[in-house]
């Protein structure tokens, strides 16, 4: 137990983390490119035209993975924030801060692609539907987190304030996820479920998973590089 915890703190020290993060970031960046190209190939050349929606449904291959990432990254930020508050490790707060811009980016992409999909299929760019509204609140939570961090000069206090906001805001994640069940929304239900039999063609699922993997690898590479920048700048 003791040696184990020592090791974790050893990794939590920015000094040892720096070269390790660089190696992981390079591998993830390469994988992101490979998965991205494979995902785009499936999205445009393998997946068949949808019988009801025609070609426009191909937006799903970005929309759904981006929405997954937007929620997942927020949960990871809340996790690092809680760990940072509990353990007082500098690196935890750094990870939370490094992930926020990428999380906000994916939230915007989810909203943007949803809007471009909504116009031809629903006839409107935007509705104040529970799913869309809770996802917009997520974008504001990201902005709030980043603005709060930027507004407080004292790094320690900024990290504590940001962590509290991130942890409180995490209640919005199940709201987004279950919004399509709890409220009568225009947005369709979950595309992929662990409990139901797949409701979509296997090729569609493959394409979405490939893009999701690409986004994952991209996010890890970008966040780790951002932490490395911060460590280098602090010296």
């Amino acid at each position: 137990m003791t040696t184990h915890s020592i090791k974790w703190f050893w990794f939590a020290s920015p000094h040892t983390f720096y070269p390790l993060a660089g190696a992981i970031a390079r591998i993830c960046a390469a994988l992101a490119l490979v998965f991205g190209i494979a995902g785009a190939y499936v999205a445009f050349f393998v997946a068949p035209t949808d019988a009801q929606q025609g070609e426009v449904y191909r937006i799903i291959f970005i929309h759904v993975p981006a929405a997954w990432m937007s929620m997942f990254i927020y949960v990871v930020i809340a996790f690092w924030s809680a760990l940072g508050l509990a353990m007082q490790t500098r690196l935890s707060a750094m990870m939370a801060r490094a992930l926020a811009p990428t999380g906000a980016l994916f939230t915007f992409i989810a909203l943007w692609t949803g809007s471009l999909w909504g116009k031809p299929t629903w006839g409107t760019w935007w509705v104040w539907d529970a799913r869309l509204t809770s996802e917009l609140i997520l974008l504001f939570l990201y902005f709030g987190f980043m603005a709060l961090q930027a507004a407080i000069d004292d790094r320690r206090r900024a990290d504590r304030a940001g962590a509290l906001l991130a942890i409180v805001g995490v209640v919005n994640i199940p709201i987004i996820y279950y919004s399509v069940q709890w409220w009568n929304t225009l947005h369709q239900g979950a595309s992929v479920s662990f409990t139901r039999a797949p409701s979509m063609a296997a090729t569609m699922l493959t394409g979405m998973l490939l893009v999701a993997l690409a986004f994952w690898m991209y996010s890890i590479a970008v966040a780790l590089t951002r932490v490395r920048c911060e460590i280098a700048e602090a010296q």
Partner: protein
């Protein structure tokens, strides 16, 4: 080729979604690369 780009009449929506996504990710990478160069200098 032009048929592929037209996407059955939905080209604007599809390329608008894919194009903006790709552009935003590319911008994030470019900004970060610049920051990395300056941090090392």
């Amino acid at each position: 080729m032009s048929e592929f780009l037209a996407m059955g009449g939905y080209g604007g929506y599809i390329w608008g979604a894919y194009g903006v996504t790709f552009a935003l990710l590319a911008i994030e990478v470019i900004v970060l690369r610049k920051r990395k160069r300056e941090a090392k200098a």
